[in-house]
């Protein structure tokens, strides 16, 4: 899921022309075979825990879904289980007392109060255990204590299910979809149906269930399995859904499609009688896009993004394993349905024309596609550790955008050049001290802090590691993580250990500190001095005699001095310092930054003119780049003549345009 800082678009207009640059052609990214992590073993399939066979009937006039079906569930833990937990997340939109709706955090996402509330009502839940049929729903508890929330239900079982045992439950339920809110619901005849069926919470190896209510800023976590879902909609409606279509028929004014998919942990679908569609096979994957009438230009740009993204992510993080991918561009009146990810199905968005050069459509599309890995194939606990899907995915998004579009990966328009990574760094910078990055979604105080820290700061931490330790090392590390933990629900420790192993302890420690302990860093040039080399003057007592050495002019063409550089904060990230001499020479000095400060000696043929820390902008985490340089005493810097020239010219244009 993603919301971009749209304020950037305003920036385009405000700054058009302030910078001058031209994009240069970039080499295409590595072919899958060259991936530095290609040797890391990768599971072909996950352990199958759940097997859903569902039948859903949509009434688009009432915006309801009637569902029936079975769940075969296997206790893959080491303990007997005598109670199930089921998520009924559509109830998050039932009233204003749900955990979701009463969350005090504004902003970011899901801020719409639904015009029509949504519910999910279980009519029947039974377990046929041998000859006995148990009614499980009679004893189920929807509410916890006094809490009105009904999104997390406990279902006691009449007997314990042994480790390794599989049980089959039958169920009947009815959904009333809300008006579009938080990626689910209807808008006119457009229906986005997600979080729509009673879903068993993920069981952990110790026999506990990772169950939790639908939190405002939180997302999901579930077991892998098989979904065999038959969708029944009025004939004029086109359907997009998780999984391959294995049967399709039209009869009695109804369109019936059966979608089957192994190795996924959720199922979402959409139906609309106005969808346009395009299909294309990309990198062996059947890609289709469903979009509103007239949005051909958007659709082409989204498909173009997938043409780049499928092979690129395949090379970086292991081949995309599913035979299909569906993109859904919701209608302009339902923007909240956009920018979301489900297995093999993503939603994009954008209502108005966006000029080429502002890569917003591409960025959202690549972000949601990236979730096929950081959510779909890795399936970490999104509510507990949101940085592991949104954060890693935001890094992957910025990496891919730069590999595709170059340094101006977000905006390249009228001379203005903004990189996606730079945008993340700037957004994250202001929240560095507010909260830990690695914490549950519901622990963040505001939606803005959640967005800046989970998405942007994680991306900035990882991009800093890439720039400092090298692209190849980063590809190796992230590639190894994505492959080793495919289908394995990794936890943060898995990520940090991968970095320690592949990139070294120093990088692993930086990552851990930055994620868990609000690690930060700010380099500063504190002071500098240089003088010509000369004999020390003054009174000296040597060999029992006192002698006075007069001050003498230094030797021409020999200078010495120092630059004092400090590091504030807790992160120890190696950095380069550039020393500039009056005669124009520049020398780079590496500093491992393990101490709080360093006095870097200077020797040259002319006086020291200035010093610049991190001249290649590798440490994007650096809190303030405005103190990364200084001019030597008595020296001026470059000043701001470009600003003066442009500002004068623009003022003349404005005065001339308005005056008459």
């Amino acid at each position: 899921m993603d919301v971009r800082p749209l304020g950037m678009s305003a920036l385009v207009v405000a700054l058009a022309g302030i910078t001058g640059s031209t994009a240069s052609a970039r080499e295409l990214p590595g072919h899958p075979d060259d991936s530095p992590a290609a040797d890391v073993p990768m599971a072909e399939h996950p352990a199958c825990v759940v097997d859903y066979t569902l039948h859903a009937t949509l009434d688009p006039a009432l915006h309801t879904v009637h569902g029936e079906g079975t769940i075969a569930w296997t206790n893959v833990s080491s303990q007997p289980v005598s109670q199930l937990w089921m998520h009924l997340y559509l109830n998050a939109f039932k009233n204003q007392s749900t955990v979701f709706m009463r969350a005090p955090v504004g902003g970011f996402r899901g801020t719409t109060v639904p015009k029509e509330w949504g519910t999910i009502d279980v009519r029947k839940l039974t377990w046929t255990d041998g000859a006995a049929e148990h009614d499980l729903w009679a004893k189920a508890q929807l509410k916890r204590g006094d809490d009105e929330d009904e999104t997390d239900a406990s279902v006691p079982l009449p007997r314990a299910v042994a480790p390794g045992e599989t049980i089959t439950l039958s169920m009947v339920w009815d959904d009333k979809l809300p008006s579009i809110v938080e990626r689910t619901g209807f808008d006119g005849s457009f229906h986005m149906v997600a979080q729509w069926f009673p879903k068993i919470a993920k069981i952990e190896p110790d026999g506990s269930f990772a169950h939790f209510p639908f939190h405002h800023l939180g997302e999901f976590y579930a077991d892998y399995g098989k979904y065999d879902v038959t969708l029944d909609v009025p004939e004029p409606f086109l359907v997009g859904a998780t999984g391959v279509v294995t049967e399709s028929r039209v009869a009695n004014g109804r369109r019936v499609e059966r979608h089957v998919q192994d190795d996924v942990h959720d199922f979402a679908w959409t139906a609309w009688d106005k969808f346009q569609t395009r299909k294309e096979t990309i990198d062996g994957v059947a890609v289709s896009i469903l979009y509103p009438p007239g949005y051909d230009d958007h659709a082409e740009r989204e498909l173009g993004t997938i043409r780049f993204a499928l092979p690129h992510y395949g090379a970086r993080y292991g081949k995309y394993p599913y035979p299909l991918l569906t993109l859904v561009h919701p209608p302009a009146s339902a923007p909240e349905a956009g920018g979301m990810e489900y297995p093999t199905l993503i939603t994009t968005g954008g209502s108005s024309f966006i000029p080429n050069g502002v890569n917003l459509i591409e960025l959202v599309t690549i972000h949601e596609f990236g979730h096929q890995y950081f959510y779909g194939l890795l399936a970490s606990h999104e509510t507990q550790w949101p940085f592991q899907d949104e954060g890693l995915n935001s890094y992957a998004e910025a990496e891919a955008m730069e590999a595709w579009k170059g340094k101006s990966s977000f905006i390249d328009l009228l001379g203005l050049s903004i990189g996606d990574s730079e945008g993340h760094a700037e957004r994250a910078r202001h929240f560095a001290h507010d909260d830990r990055v690695a914490q549950p979604a519901y622990a963040f105080g505001t939606g803005a802090a959640y967005g800046a820290l989970v998405y942007s700061r994680t991306a900035t931490i990882l991009e800093t590691l890439r720039r400092v330790y090298g692209d190849r090392a980063m590809q190796r590390t992230m590639g190894a993580y994505a492959r080793r933990f495919r289908f394995k629900h990794p936890v943060p420790r898995d990520l940090i250990e991968t970095f320690q192993r592949e990139m070294g302890n120093e990088a692993g420690e930086t990552l851990r500190d930055a994620l868990f302990d609000k690690g930060w860093v700010d380099y500063r040039v504190e002071a500098m001095s240089s003088h010509s080399v000369h004999v020390a003057a003054g009174i000296f007592d040597r060999d029992g005699k006192r002698a006075t050495t007069p001050a003498a002019p230094g030797a021409p063409g020999k200078y010495e001095g120092w630059v004092l550089v400090s590091r504030r904060g807790t992160l120890r990230i190696p950095v380069e310092v550039e020393l500039l001499s009056e005669d124009g020479t520049r020398a780079r000095v590496p500093w491992d930054a393990t101490t709080d400060s360093i006095r870097i000696p200077y020797a040259g043929t002319s006086a020291l003119r200035a010093a610049v820390i991190d001249p290649d902008e590798r440490v994007l985490l650096d809190e303030n780049s405005e103190n990364d340089f200084a001019a030597a005493p008595g020296h001026a810097g470059g000043g701001a003549p470009r600003t003066l020239e442009r500002a004068t010219y623009w003022s003349e244009l404005v005065l001339g345009a308005i005056a008459p």
Partner: protein, 324 residues
């Protein structure tokens, strides 16, 4: 001083007046640029590459600078805006002087007896001091006309913007996103054209105001500014009734050349990027040439406006004096 015959009104005969308008604009623009220049200089001036860092690809330092949470941005923006408004008002004086200079001339001393009289009167430019006096006297009506035309333009353009957006969203389904956006642009451009035509009429009124005040100045009479202004507006309307097409054509041609000049300036700036030194000096020269060219185009347009207004104004004045 004497009002010139329409055939004698040309911007090219008034280089000093055009140049002083340009110098006035440049001088005030330097004042307007001071806050933002100082803001950047304070933040990045000590960097050995100076503000070139703001032009680097990826825009990291640009974002850091704009993202500072201190008051720099808002203080600079407000001050700049205030200076722009003040500048626009102040510049009405040199503008009035320019129009006066275009509209009037000084007759040469009578040719010596016995020499043939030239078919047209030989005139010289007004002394700048006289032109400025008329400019100062014209300030209030010119500033009022300006406020009026800005208000009208804002209303027309806002209406156009809202309507165009509504039409775009209504047409997207049938025409497609790219084509409906084109419709939006075209529709908005139509409203902009309406605003431009209204602007042309206001420019005719500006010409009439300065010419009338100049004539009064020459006669040693004076009248309340707003009455002069209302009369000038009526003159402009009367002129528009007979010659709106010619006036609009005259304005549009010059406007197009002016846009082309801006495009040249943009290409130059874009090609140069963040380079400094001689290249930056070259850019300054190109940019100032663009501005000078635009001032000259404006002078040329006002000369055209004066030529269109003069006969109408004189006829109305003749009617008025015969009526009293």
């Amino acid at each position: 001083m004497t009002p010139l015959d329409p055939s004698e009104i040309h911007a090219r005969t008034r280089p000093v007046a055009v140049a002083s308008m340009f110098v006035g604009e440049l001088a005030w623009a330097l004042v307007v640029a001071t806050p933002v220049h100082e803001w950047v200089r304070r933040a990045w001036g000590a960097h050995p590459d100076g503000d070139a860092v703001l032009f680097s690809r990826g825009g990291r330092d640009l974002l850091v600078w704009l993202g500072q949470e201190d008051a720099g941005m808002s203080v600079t923006a407000r001050t700049t805006l205030a200076l722009l408004v003040v500048g626009v008002l102040l510049l009405q004086v040199p503008f009035g002087a320019l129009v006066a200079s275009l509209a009037f001339g000084r007759e040469l001393a009578a040719p010596p007896a016995g020499e043939a009289t030239a078919p047209t009167r030989a005139t010289r430019a007004l002394p700048m001091a006289t032109a400025w006096k008329i400019g100062v006297a014209s300030w209030l009506p010119l500033a009022t006309l300006l406020a009026f035309s800005v208000l009208v333009s804002v209303i027309v353009l806002s209406l156009g913007g809202i309507l165009a957006a509504l039409v775009e969203s209504g047409l997207t389904a049938s025409l497609g996103d790219a084509r409906s956006f084109t419709v939006r642009v075209v529709l908005f451009a139509l409203f902009a054209a309406v605003a431009a035509v209204l602007g042309v009429v206001v420019d005719l009124a500006r010409a009439a105001v300065v010419r009338e005040i100049g004539i009064a100045h020459a006669a040693g009479t004076s009248e309340a500014g707003w009455r002069t202004m209302l009369r000038a507006l009526r003159t402009a309307m009367a002129t528009a009734r007979t010659s709106l097409g010619r006036a609009t054509l005259g304005w549009t041609g010059r406007f197009a050349v002016g846009i082309a000049l801006i495009a040249i300036g943009f290409v130059a700036a874009n090609g140069l990027g963040g380079r400094g030194g001689v290249a930056l000096g070259g850019l300054f020269v190109i940019h100032q040439a663009v501005v000078l060219g635009r001032v000259a185009l404006r002078a040329s347009w006002m000369a055209r406006a004066l030529a269109l207004v003069a006969p109408v104004q004189d006829a109305r004045e003749a009617k008025r004096s015969s009526a009293t």
